[in-house]
Structure formats: C-alpha cells, structure tokens
C-alpha cells in the first residue's frame, strides 16, 4: 500500500462515518451516550483537514498524523482506542512511501494489539474488538496473498459487517454499554459498526486501486 492509497482509505472512512453519523449516534443512544457518530465524525473530519494541510514524507508520518489527530479530537473511549492504536500502527510502518501487504498487516496487528492492551476487551464483550480481533485472524491468514487482492478485502468487509451485526445478541461487558447489563441485548454495538466501516473503506480503496 502506498501513501495515496493510505490517505484514500482514511478519506473514504471519513465519508462512510459522516454518512452514518446519525446511525452511529442512534445505536449509541440505545446503549450508551449517543455520541459515537459525532465523536468519530469530528475526528475523521479533522484527519481529512490534516491531510489537506500537510503532505507528509512517509507512510509512517501519515499514520502518525492520523493517530495524533484522532487522539486529540475524537475523545471518549473510541478516541483513546483509535488514537493510541494508530500511533502504534505508525511505529510499525516504514519511513517510506510504500509498504508491502504483509507490512500493512503487521502494522494492523500492532494496532489491534494496542487496542487490546488499552481496552482489555476480548471477543464477546460487545465492542469494536468483536470486529477487529476476528478480522486480524482472517487477515493474518491472507498474508501471503498479493497486495490488492480485491477478493480478500471485499470478503473481509462483508464478514466485518456480520461480526458487527452479531454483537446485537451479546451482553456488553466493556465500555459504557456494560452498565446496562442484560438490557444491552438486542442492540448492535456502535463501535463495532465503525470498525466494520473501516474495513468497508479498505475494501473500497483496494477496489479503486485495482480498477
């Protein structure tokens, strides 16, 4: 993946979040505090602004820009997680304009590990980790496939949506929804939806690169 694609991925993610802002707020209203869409939208809007204002020298620098921006503009649980995750992500990316697919997956691995460490959530806790953790497993299995394999990322985006949908039946054990206990059943976790949208953005980006 190169810097153009990387930035396109985040621009696309920003678009998807913006389109789904109200959906995300509504999901958060049901089991949280109705701000997840606003939080992510605010932060990603700033990422796009930062891209427009800064042309960084490398993928590492671009990723760091994303991490710093999310960290300082999203707020809430998702801000701390996405922010520290992307900062970790940036440390694994090379000071170069391009990275192999495997290097990208390594960085994503570091991202997810940072999230796990910070948030302590495991699969089944009804959080964004219900998307990120299985997605990482699937991606690691694909590590030998050529970058740009549209098939893999499109399938992954679809699966991510499914994992997110499946949070509906879970009792939340982490995050704000955990306070609701059994009452959280029947509602999809908003953070898992934004995580799934990120994989959607990845798929859209790869598809664009290929075509």
């Amino acid at each position: 993946m190169d810097q153009v694609a990387f930035r396109q991925l985040w621009r696309r993610f920003a678009e998807l979040i913006h389109e789904n802002r109200e959906v995300l707020n509504d999901l958060d209203a049901a089991i949280g505090d109705a701000d997840h869409g606003s939080n992510m939208d605010r932060g990603l809007g700033k990422v796009v602004e930062a891209f427009n204002a800064n042309s960084e020298a490398s993928l590492h620098a671009d990723a760091k820009l994303v991490g710093m921006t999310l960290m300082s503009t999203v707020g809430g649980a998702s801000g701390a997680l996405w922010g520290s995750g992307m900062l970790k992500f940036s440390t694994v990316l090379p000071d170069a304009a391009v990275v192999e697919w495997s290097g990208f997956i390594d960085a994503l691995d570091a991202f997810v590990e940072a999230l796990s460490k910070r948030g302590q959530a495991v699969v089944g806790d009804k959080t964004m980790m219900d998307v990120f953790l299985p997605a990482m497993t699937e991606l690691r299995d694909s590590v030998d496939v050529q970058e740009g394999s549209e098939e893999i990322v499109v399938a992954l985006a679809e699966h991510a949506k499914g994992w997110s949908d499946a949070t509906r039946d879970l009792v939340a054990r982490r995050g704000r929804a955990a306070y609701l206990g059994e009452r959280s059943i029947g509602h999809i976790d908003p953070g898992s939806v934004s995580a799934a949208l990120w994989f959607q953005a990845l798929a859209d980006t790869v598809r664009d690169q290929v075509s």
Binding site: D33, R176, Y179
Partner: protein, 334 residues
C-alpha cells in the same frame, strides 16, 4: 431541540469563555486548551488536583476550581471524555511541584484518556496519581466488566481531597484520603425525562408520562430499570435504602449526603427529598451532618435527581467542613 446555543461545534469553547466572564476572580482559561485553571494558583509545593470529563455536567467540572478544591478542570465535548492532550494540559496547569492527583470517574473513555495523559506526564517528570470514582451502586461491581460508574459523589472527592491538598498533604496521602472517600461513597440517580445531546439533536431515550428511569449514569444514557413514577417519599426511601445497604451503614454512624438535580428538576423538589432524607436518617439512627442540595453534577436539561451518601469519620468530616471557595461550592467559616 431547543437550546440557547449558536452552533453545536462551538458550545464547549464558548461555554468555557463564559465561565471566565462570570468568574474571573476564580478562573482562567489555559490558552489554546479546554482547561479551566485557578486564576490565582495555589502555593508551590502543594499537590495539584485535576478533574474533568465530558461537558454537560455543569457546574462540574470548572465550577469546582478554586481554593480548597480543584486546581484545574478539563472539559471534553458534551458527554465525551476529554482527550489526553487536554488532560495533560490540565496536569501541567495544576502542577505546583508536588505532583498531581487526577480525579477520574470510572468510565472506559475517561479512564483511558486520563491514563494516556499520565503517560505523557510521566515522560515529562510530573508525578501523578489517580483516584477512580465509582460511586454508582446501580451498576454491579465486577472485575470482569467495566465495574461501577462514577457519578455525583465525585464532588465529595473534589472537596475532601482538595482540602487535604490545600492543607499541604503530600501526593500519596491525598490519594489515600481520596481513595477512602470513594470506599465510603455510594450514589444512585433517576431520570424523569431524557436530555438531548446537542450534536445528536433528539432525546437519547423516551419515557412515558408515568415512567421513570432508575440507575441512570450522568451521560444521559438509559438507566438500569424503568419503573412507574414514584412519590418523593417513595423515591427518596428507595434510593436511600439502597445506599445504606451498599455502605452497610449502621446505628450511630456519621454521614454526609448530596441531593443533586440532574438539571431540570427544581430546588423545590430537591428540598422535598431532603426533608424525607432527614427523616429516614433519623429512623435509621444515622447522624446526618451535612447535606449538599442543588445542582452539582448534571446531565444537561434532564429532569431527575440523584442521592449520594458518604460515611464520615473525623478526618473526612473535618476536611468536608474546611473552608473552600469555588464558583459552585463555598464553605464559609462562620
């Protein structure tokens, strides 16, 4: 959504400026941040206190900045924990060379953002400690989940830890005192109406004409149970007994209480609850030494109230009654 605002995006920034307009003798804004700090910082060599959280809880948290309470308050967007860079700016503003105690309500977002800020402070050589407030007994405490939330009882932590810091206690002592406040603190709240998060534009939940939501948090989120409306007497008793049981309060013990409005519930209703509270404590032979009644930790324009009980010992009682002078809480020596 009917609110006296200009634009959703500028609410917090404008409100912080407005706080300085109203309380210039107490507050200044740390430039370029969402931090309110004392306009007259305390002496060097004393422990600093920083608290904060999402906006929408006014007078929390900026209202508690001043002599005998906080040194700095960090604001996030409405109902959104502040970001680590902002918290770190608060830590720097509060630091007088003796380290800083962070008062953090136990919400995932707050905990994580304050933790990251501590890492930044660490790197800069500023010693920090955290007191995690989790007074909301509506939520089951558990190691395997997020645990209990922090709500209105946080104000007692500000007051008592703030008084200890003002007296010159060192960082670890202030933390111990703050921790024992939390260990003896229990709160629970209810909502009669939802509030509307400005960025969302509609009520977070809907309640029927005869329904109330018990065990709400302070972010306008739904509570743990929906029940039919109760009378003031039933409501106060139900909250009270729950808190007394949680704290295992027994005959002759000393307590302080807070009767807190979530925003729209007027003082006249709080006063009715306070009357019941006094009778309830009499019946259970508790010594009610202090009642804080009013708006202390709100959820925008939500109607509802919360009750907090704090077990007192001599130290906590003395610190609770120590002079303090902040926009939202003043203890004047008579």
């Amino acid at each position: 959504m009917k609110k006296i605002i200009d634009a959703v995006e500028t609410i917090v920034d404008q409100a912080l400026d407005g706080m300085v307009v109203a309380y210039p003798e107490y507050l200044q804004r740390v430039e370029g941040t969402l931090v309110l700090a004392r306009s007259k910082p305390k002496e060097t060599g004393k422990v600093g206190l920083v608290s904060g959280g999402g906006s929408g809880h006014e007078p929390a948290h900026g209202g508690y900045v001043g002599y005998g309470m906080l040194d700095a308050a960090v604001a996030g967007e409405v109902f959104t924990s502040p970001t680590p860079d902002q918290v770190y700016a608060g830590i720097k503003a509060a630091d007088r060379g003796a380290g800083v105690l962070l008062v953090v309500k136990n919400y995932t977002g707050d905990v994580m953002n304050f933790d990251i800020a501590r890492e930044l402070a660490d790197a800069d050589g500023i010693a920090t400690e955290v007191v995690l407030v989790n007074d909301d007994v509506a939520v089951q405490d558990s190691l395997y989940t997020t645990g209990r939330r922090g709500i209105a009882g946080t104000v007692f932590v500000h007051k008592i830890a703030g008084a200890a810091a003002e007296e010159g206690a060192d960082l670890s002592s202030v933390k111990v005192i703050a921790d024992t406040v939390v260990a003896n603190l229990a709160s629970m709240g209810c909502a009669l109406t939802s509030c509307t998060v400005p960025a969302n534009g509609k009520p977070t939940f809907e309640l029927g004409a005869n329904e109330m939501e018990m065990g709400i948090g302070i972010h306008g989120e739904p509570g743990i149970e929906r029940v039919p409306m109760m009378s003031a007497s039933e409501l106060t008793a139900s909250l009270y007994h729950r808190l007394v049981a949680e704290l295992s309060l027994g005959d002759g013990e000393r307590i302080a209480a807070m009767v807190n409005s979530m925003g729209a519930t007027p003082a006249i209703e709080l006063a009715i609850m306070s009357g019941h509270l006094a009778n309830l404590t009499k019946s259970s032979k508790l010594s009610l030494e202090k009642v804080l009644m009013g708006e202390f930790m709100t959820s925008l324009e939500m109607a509802g109230a919360s009750l907090t009980l704090l077990r007192l010992d001599q130290q906590r009682s003395t610190l609770l009654n120590a002079a303090c002078d902040t926009p939202a809480l003043k203890v004047v020596k008579h």
